[in-house]
C-alpha cells in the first residue's frame, strides 16, 4: 500500500477532500469584558483523538463546554456530523462528556451511574443493565458494580466516569483533563488504556489537557491554545519538530531560544545573534536578510564532547563549561555555561554505558547540526 493511501485512511486531515466530522467555525465566547475564546475555526475528523493543549485560562475548557452545550457561543457556528448545534440543548446532543471532577452521582452505585444515560433514553432495565455489564467489563470494573463512588479509588472513579460517558455510544466524546486527578504511574497506564478503548469503539475523542506529555502520547493531532486562540494545529511530531512560534516551541518540551537577525536567507540560513555569534540553521522559505528572528534548539539535539569536533559548514560549535548535571537514569540533563555567560540546556541519552561520563566543571564543546536549529519568525 502506498503511503498516500495509508495517510488518507488513518490521517484524514491530510486529505483535502475529506469531510470533517466536527466543524468549528469562527467561534467566539465572551464573559462580560473577558474574551475566553476568540474566533476559533477548527475541523476534526471521524475517529480522531484530538487534544486541545494549553495552560490554565487559555479557553480550552470553554471551547469543550460549547461543544457539549453547557455554554452558548457569543458568535460562530458548531457543526457535528453536518448538523448545526445552535439551539440544541446538552441533553439532545450526540456528545457525551467526561468531567474533570468525574461528576459521579454520589447517591448511586457504579452500576446505576453507568446505566443512567441508557435509562434516560427509555431503554428497558434488562437491556440497560446487560449493556452496563459489558461496558464495566471493558473498563475492568465488573467486580465493583455495586459499590458507591466514595468507596472507589481515584483510578477506579476515573474508569466509572469513562464507562458512563461511553455507554450511550456517542459520536463524540469530550474529555476534560481525563487523567488530571491520577498519580503519575496510573496516568501512564491509563493513557494507553484510553487509546485502546478509543480504537476499540472508534469514537471521536476531543481531550482537553494542560499536560504536554499526555497530549503527545494520546493525540492524533494537537491544537495548542493560548489566550483564546489556537496558535498551531498539527500531528504531535510536527508540533514538536516544527513549532511555528516561540510560544509553541516553549510550551511543548523544553527549548533553547535565541534572538537574532538573518544575514543570509540561503541553505543553511545564517543568523547573527548577539549571544552565540553567527549561527547556521535549517532553511525555510519567506526569510529576508536583516529580518528579526528567533532560533529554537531542542536540548537533545546538542552533543557534548571533550575535544573540539571538526569544523563544518553545517555544524555549529561553541565551547563552554558544565555548570550542572541532573542524572535521570535513562537520560541526563546538563546546563552548560557558554563563553558569554549564557546557559545552554542539553539532554544526553544514556543509551550506551559510559565509563567516564562528562561531569561538573568540565570544559566541553557543545555542537549541533544546522538542521537541528529552527528559525521562528513570531
Amino acid at each position: 500500500m502506498s503511503d498516500t493511501a495509508l495517510a488518507a485512511d488513518t490521517k484524514p486531515w491530510r486529505d483535502t477532500t475529506a469531510r470533517p466530522f466536527i466543524s468549528i467555525r469562527n467561534i467566539t465566547k465572551r464573559f462580560g469584558d473577558f474574551t475566553a475564546v476568540n474566533d476559533i475555526s477548527l475541523d476534526i475528523y471521524q475517529g480522531e483523538l484530538f487534544c486541545l493543549l494549553g495552560g490554565s485560562g487559555c479557553g480550552k475548557s470553554t471551547l469543550l463546554r460549547m461543544l457539549a452545550g453547557f455554554e452558548v457561543p457569543t458568535a460562530g457556528q458548531i457543526l457535528i456530523d453536518g448538523q448545526d448545534m445552535a439551539g440544541v440543548p446538552a441533553d439532545k446532543r450526540p456528545t457525551n462528556m467526561m468531567f474533570q471532577s468525574y461528576a459521579l452521582f454520589p447517591h448511586m452505585s457504579v452500576e446505576k451511574n453507568v446505566a443512567y444515560g441508557l435509562l434516560r433514553e427509555g431503554k428497558s432495565r434488562a437491556e440497560a443493565y446487560a449493556r452496563v455489564a459489558e461496558m464495566l467489563k471493558l473498563v475492568k470494573l465488573e467486580a465493583l458494580a455495586k459499590r458507591k463512588p466514595h468507596q472507589l479509588s481515584g483510578g477506579q472513579r476515573q474508569r466509572v466516569a469513562l464507562a458512563r460517558s461511553l455507554i450511550k455510544q456517542p459520536k463524540l466524546l469530550l474529555l476534560d483533563e481525563p487523567l488530571g486527578a491520577l498519580d503519575k504511574k496510573l496516568r501512564e497506564e491509563t493513557q494507553f488504556e484510553l487509546i485502546r478503548i478509543q480504537e476499540t469503539l472508534g469514537v471521536t475523542f476531543i481531550v482537553v489537557t494542560h499536560d504536554q506529555d499526555e497530549a503527545m502520547t494520546l493525540a492524533t493531532r494537537i491544537g495548542v491554545m493560548n489566550e483564546g486562540v489556537i496558535t498551531q494545529v498539527g500531528e504531535p511530531r510536527a508540533i514538536y519538530e516544527h513549532p511555528k512560534s516561540r510560544f509553541v516551541a516553549d510550551f511543548i518540551g523544553s527549548v533553547n531560544l535565541f534572538e537574532g537577525q538573518v544575514r543570509d536567507p540561503g541553505a543553511p540560513v545564517v543568523v547573527e545573534t548577539p549571544e552565540l555569534g553567527t549561527m547556521k540553521a535549517l532553511a525555510r522559505e519567506g526569510l529576508s536578510a536583516g529580518q528579526q528572528v528567533w532560533l529554537a534548539l531542542r536540548p537533545e539535539r546538542v552533543s557534548l564532547t571533550r575535544t573540539e569536533p571538526a569544523a563544518s559548514d553545517s555544524v555549529n560549535t561553541l565551547p563552554g563549561v558544565v555548570e550542572d548535571v541532573a542524572y535521570m537514569g535513562h537520560m541526563s540533563h546538563f546546563r552548560v555555561r557558554l563563553a558569554n555567560g549564557r546557559m545552554l540546556r542539553v539532554t544526553l541519552s544514556n543509551r550506551l554505558h559510559d565509563e567516564d561520563p562528562i561531569s561538573w566543571d568540565e570544559a566541553v564543546f557543545a555542537s549541533w547540526n544546522a538542521s537541528a536549529m529552527r528559525v521562528l519568525t513570531e
Binding site: A68, F70, K92, N96, F99, A103, F105, G117
Partner: protein, 312 residues
C-alpha cells in the same frame, strides 16, 4: 515576645491539666456536656419525678417522692396513675393526634413553599444570594408575638384581606379565617418557614453544578435531573428542615392560642390548662414527657435509617 509568653503559659497549663488527667479534647467536650446536663437532663429528671407524684393542695402542689415512716423507714411514693389517666381520657389522645396532624400538614406546606425558595437562593449569584438570605432571617429581628398579632390584623373579619376582597367585589360576605385551623396553619408555616429554608439552602448550595451538567449530558431533561439528582441529594436537608419545623410545631402553644379557635386542639394548650388552670402538676408533667417521646421517636427512627443507609 507575646507569642513566647503565651506559649509558655499554655505549656504550663497543659502540664497541670495533664497531671490531673485532663486533655484539651476532654475540656472542649466537657463544656457542652455540662451545659446539657445542667439545663436539659436535670430539668427532665425533675419533670419525670413530678409525673410520678400525686396532685395535692400544697406548695409545691404534688406529693414528695419519699416519706419517713413512724419507725424511721424510708417509703418511696411513686405512681404511674397519671400516665394511665392520659391513656384513658380521650381528650389527651385527641390532643396528641390533632397536634401531630397539624404539625405534619404544616411541615409539608413549609417544605413545599421553602424548597423552591431555598433552591432559588442557592442558585443565585453571590451578591444577590446574601441579600436574599438576609431577607429570610429578617423577620427574626421583630418579636415573634408581634408578628402573630400582625397576622390577626390580616385575617380578622374586618382585616386587610377581607377588606381588600370586598372592595374589589370578589366576595360579598367576609371570609371567616380567624379562630380556625386555617389560621393556625398560616401562623405555623409563616413562623417556622426560615427553619425549613436555612438547612435546605445549606444543603443545596453545596450541590456540584457538574452533577447537573452530567445528568443533562447523559440525556436527562431539567425536570428529570431534578427528580433523579437534586432531590435525592438534598434529602438530608429536607429531613433537617422538616425536623426543625415539626418539633416546635407539635408543641406549639402561642399560635393556636392566638389564631386558633376553641376547636383547635393542641397538646401545648392542654399542657398550659393542666398546669395553670387545674394546677395539676403531675398530669401536666406526664403530658410533657409523653410529648417528648412522641417527638424523639421519629428522630431516632430517621437517625437509624440514615445510619443504615450510610453503612450500605
Amino acid at each position: 515576645m507575646s507569642a513566647l509568653t503565651d506559649n509558655a503559659l499554655w505549656r504550663g497549663t497543659a502540664r497541670v491539666m495533664g497531671r490531673l488527667g485532663i486533655s484539651g479534647r476532654t475540656l472542649v467536650i466537657a463544656i457542652p456536656m455540662l451545659w446539657l446536663l445542667a439545663f436539659f437532663l436535670v430539668p427532665f429528671l425533675v419533670l419525670g419525678r413530678i409525673s410520678l407524684a400525686e396532685a395535692i393542695i400544697a406548695r409545691p402542689p404534688y406529693t414528695p417522692l419519699w416519706e419517713r415512716g413512724p419507725d424511721g423507714t424510708l417509703h418511696i411514693i411513686a405512681t404511674l396513675e397519671n400516665y394511665r389517666f392520659l391513656l384513658e381520657d380521650a381528650l389527651y389522645r385527641n390532643a396528641y393526634l390533632s397536634s401531630i396532624r397539624i404539625a405534619v400538614i404544616s411541615t409539608v406546606f413549609a417544605l413545599l413553599i421553602g424548597y423552591p425558595i431555598a433552591y432559588y437562593i442557592a442558585r443565585s449569584p453571590e451578591p444577590r444570594r446574601s441579600v436574599l438570605l438576609l431577607l429570610v432571617i429578617l423577620p427574626f429581628w421583630t418579636s415573634f408575638l408581634l408578628r402573630v398579632y400582625a397576622w390577626m390584623g390580616f385575617l380578622r373579619r374586618e382585616g386587610v384581606i377581607n377588606n381588600t376582597l370586598m372592595s374589589l367585589g370578589i366576595i360579598d360576605q367576609p371570609l371567616v379565617m380567624m379562630q380556625t385551623d386555617f389560621a393556625v396553619y398560616i401562623g405555623i408555616v409563616y413562623t417556622y418557614l426560615p427553619f425549613m429554608i436555612l438547612p435546605l439552602y445549606a444543603n443545596l448550595v453545596k450541590l456540584d453544578d457538574a452533577l447537573l451538567e452530567a445528568a443533562g449530558d447523559l440525556g436527562a431533561s431539567p425536570t428529570v435531573t431534578f427528580f433523579t439528582v437534586t432531590l435525592p441529594l438534598s434529602l438530608p436537608g429536607i429531613v433537617a428542615g422538616s425536623m426543625l419545623v415539626f418539633i416546635p410545631a407539635i408543641g406549639e402553644y402561642v399560635i393556636p392560642a392566638l389564631l386558633g379557635g376553641p376547636d383547635t386542639l393542641m397538646i401545648g394548650r392542654v399542657l398550659w390548662d393542666e398546669f395553670f388552670s387545674s394546677r395539676d402538676w403531675p398530669v401536666a408533667s406526664a403530658v410533657a414527657i409523653v410529648m417528648l417521646f412522641l417527638v424523639v421517636a421519629p428522630i431516632m427512627w430517621l437517625q437509624s435509617v440514615q445510619n443504615r443507609r450510610e453503612l450500605q
